[in-house]
Amino acid sequence: MRRTVLSAAALACTAVLAGTVPAFADSTTPRPVPTVVASEAPSTAQSARPSEVPSPVPTRVSKRDRGQVAAVPAGAPDTGVTESSSGSGSEAALIGGGAAAALAAGAVLFTVRRRRATGA
């Protein structure tokens, strides 16, 4: 009789433990609440804050640090040299020299002819 009572008590305890233990350690009901709270709350806190805070800061800092244009030049760039303004010096000298030589030759010829005409 005692055995029967003890066995029944042990089985009852087993049934109770089997039913209650999972509810504390794990389970179906409490789990959705903590996991949802634990996964959503930190995720918004972590993904929103780190991604919003650091991203504007480095971009602003990088813009200013790199200064974009570090030294702004004065005036307008001179990026065109016309043909008349370059290389024309030597050509003009050649033309001028040639004209002077031709004039000198003409003067000599004129003088020689004049002398010959006078002498004759």
């Binding site: 233990v21 350690a25 789990r31 996964s39 244009v69 065109g80 043909e83």
Partner: protein, 203 residues
């Protein structure tokens, strides 16, 4: 305690332990799943960042047949920007105090329209560029920054738009500068300025 009751307690303890252990696994899965999802949004800003700093070595403008190596230009003694030397094989130059192409800010490239007795300069046809034309700058690191022309402006040298050309901007841009307009005794009265923005990368 009898042997039967011992067995019963052992069974109960084992059942409770198993139930406790079984519950832990799904919780870890949700945590790892959450961790796997977290890097995705942080990867977005890095994908949007511009090219790293690398000096430009070549410039290509297919629309006007330009393909030139790039010199590095600085400042002249009078504070004006240096320009490429007058040579038969004219080349363009990148102003080294401006951002490298692909970085936030206006990257400035200069070239001659004519080089005196040598004839046409590398930017002879720059004024022919139109909105939507593509400009590619090849960088020292092997990558390329591709820009698209947004505006071509001819301005009097006396009213050079310094702020528009060299002023800060919030994205990677490119300025191509040469001379243009009516000729004076030694040069030109105007500047031709091309404004372009980064639209892609290669390499």
């Amino acid at each position: 305690m009898t042997s039967l009751s011992r067995r019963a307690f052992v069974t109960a303890a084992t059942a409770s332990l198993l139930a406790g252990c079984a519950g832990a696994a799904p919780h870890q899965v949700t945590t790892t799943a959450h961790r796997r999802q977290a890097p995705a949004p942080t990867a977005t800003p890095t994908a949007r960042t511009a090219l790293g700093r690398s000096v430009p070595v070549r410039l290509r403008i297919p629309a006007i047949g330009v393909d030139t190596p790039l010199l590095r230009l600085g400042l002249a003694a009078d504070g004006t920007v240096q320009v490429p030397p007058i040579t038969a094989h004219d080349r363009a130059g990148w102003y080294r105090y401006s951002p490298t192409p692909g970085q936030a800010g206006p990257s400035v490239v200069l070239g001659h329209v004519t080089v005196g007795s040598y004839g046409d300069g590398v930017f002879r046809r720059l004024a022919e560029l139109r909105r939507g034309d593509e400009v590619e700058t090849r960088l020292e690191n092997g990558r390329s920054a591709v820009f698209t022309v947004g505006e071509v402006r001819t301005v009097a040298k006396a009213q050079f738009p310094t702020k528009d050309v060299y002023g800060d901007v919030d994205r990677p841009e490119l300025r191509l500068i040469t001379c243009g307009g009516p000729r004076s005794g030694h040069g030109y009265l105007d500047n031709v300025i091309v404004f372009a923005t980064l639209t892609g990368t290669r390499g």
